[in-house]
Structure formats: structure tokens, C-alpha cells
Amino acid sequence: MIWFASLAILAGVLISLSRQINGRLALSTSAMESSFWNHLVGLVFITVVALLIGGLFAGEPSASPWWAYLGGPIGVIFIAAGSWLIARIGAAQTALLIIAGQMISGVVLDVVMGAPGDLWARTIGVGLILAGMWAAQGRTS
């Protein structure tokens, strides 16, 4: 359990690390170029690991709906946005606001798709996140 918990924490650290390295690359090039390298290098890495371990095409991958393939182009914009933002508002604020957007849009998606959920928990959770965003931007100078 401790072992898996450490892995989950490490995964979070690596998300931030990846965004920082990409942000540094964007400082020398551009946000879109850093997103390109992120995807190309990641693709090569995953291909090598998948070839070593095997099972890349296990299951019924050809049966997946066409729209599931749109995650790639969306990810390009996501990584470019993170690379652009991190040099401007810092790693912590970039991460925090992305989390806020992910959580609230997740609730919206759940509601739209009719996923079951507790109305009170959703209301309080979204309310706290909105209050936090207000606190983050409230500094007037």
C-alpha cells in the first residue's frame, strides 16, 4: 500500500516535472514546438517500452469509436498551454488552475452524461474551488 501510494505521489511529481521541462524548452523555442517534442519523444519512449514488454495491440483496439482518437490533438493544445503558462504564472498557480478547470469541467461532463453523483458534494466542491480561484486572482496592485 505504501509502495503504491508512493508511486501515485511520484506520478504527480512527474506531471509537474514534465511541465517545467517543457516550459523551459518553450522559453528557448515556442510553446507549440515544446508540445511537438513532448509528443514525439514520448511516442518514441512508449514505442520502445511497449516493444520490450509487448501487448500494445492487445484487446479490441480497432473497435474503439473514432472520437476517442481526438485525445492526441487536444493534448497538443493542453501541453502547449501548460508550457506557455508556467513561465508566466509559475508552476504552482498553473497546476492549481488546471486542476480547478479539470474538476469543474469533470462535474459538468458528469451531469451532461447523466453520471450518478451526490448533489451536495458536487455543489460544495465546486463552490470551494470557485472561492479558491477568486482568492488566487483577488490581489489588486
Binding site: L7, P61, M103
Partner: protein, 155 residues
């Protein structure tokens, strides 16, 4: 930490919040791939289509290069870190942590390391020291997120 002008700050906030929305869509799309194929496939496909899409974006937009000097080679390794993340989470998803535990601990690791990186100005990024208001925002957003993760969905 130095703050950008208010209109610029609103633009940055909107962009980051919107990026979070894109992340939700990515989780939905890539999760659908994983439901049909392997976890490798669900990460391999978005990297493949993403590489092609990024190349097209670069060809069409032709963004200006900020610096003519070559950056150090390690700055090209961000993608490896991102790919390892996918493999780690696919391991913890199937442990007792499940999805909610994986996300919650991931948020913790991400925030602690981000704050540390900001304070030290790691990897040549601007150094910034968080102030009281930043910690209030952090507490509220993480508390709201944990409530949504653990109590927000019916399952």
C-alpha cells in the same frame, strides 16, 4: 511574487482553467481507448496523433523561435516524464488506491513539487515565493477537489 497586470492575469487564468477542461476531455477520450485496447495503446495513440497534429500546427502557425541559441539537450526529455506518469498511474489504478486515491495522491505530489520548484526557480524558470493568499487559494481548491474526488461521483 511579481504579478502581471490584471487583464493579462485574467487571460492566464482563463487559459489555465480552459486547459483543465481540455484535460477532462483527454481523460474521457484516452480512457475510452483504454476500455477497448491496452493501456499502452491508450497512451501510444494520443502521442502518435498528437505528434502529427503538433507538426501540422507548427507548419500552419509557424511560431517565432524565442532564442536562436540551442537549449541544453535535457529540455527535450519532458515527454519521457509524461509517458512514465501514464505507466505509474496504470499500476496504481489497479491497486487498492483505485481512481480516487490515485488522483488525490497525484494532486498532492504535483502541488508540493510545484511549490518547491517555484521557490527554487528550478530548471531555469522564474523564481517566485508564494504568499499567504496563494496558500488560501491552494487550500480551498484542493479541499474542493478532494470532496469531488471522494464524494462527488456516485460509484
Amino acid at each position: 511574487m511579481s504579478q502581471p497586470s490584471q487583464s493579462k492575469q485574467m487571460l492566464y487564468f482563463a487559459a489555465a482553467f480552459g486547459a483543465g477542461g481540455l484535460l477532462s476531455l483527454m481523460v474521457l477520450f484516452n480512457g475510452t481507448l483504454a476500455a477497448y485496447g491496452s493501456l499502452f495503446f491508450a497512451s501510444w495513440i494520443p502521442h502518435l496523433t498528437g505528434t502529427v497534429a503538433a507538426l501540422l500546427f507548427l507548419l500552419v502557425l509557424r511560431p517565432k523561435r524565442a532564442d536562436t541559441a540551442r537549449p541544453p539537450l535535457w529540455v527535450y526529455l519532458g515527454g519521457v516524464s509524461g509517458a512514465v506518469t501514464v505507466m505509474l498511474t496504470s499500476a496504481t489504478l489497479n491497486s487498492a488506491l483505485a481512481l480516487s486515491g490515485t488522483i488525490a495522491l497525484g494532486l498532492a505530489g504535483q502541488m508540493v513539487f510545484s511549490l518547491f520548484a517555484d521557490m527554487r526557480g528550478l530548471f531555469g524558470l522564474p523564481q517566485r515565493t508564494p504568499v499567504g493568499r496563494d496558500f488560501i487559494a491552494l487550500t480551498l481548491i484542493i479541499a474542493g477537489s478532494l470532496i469531488l474526488i471522494f464524494y462527488g461521483s456516485g460509484s
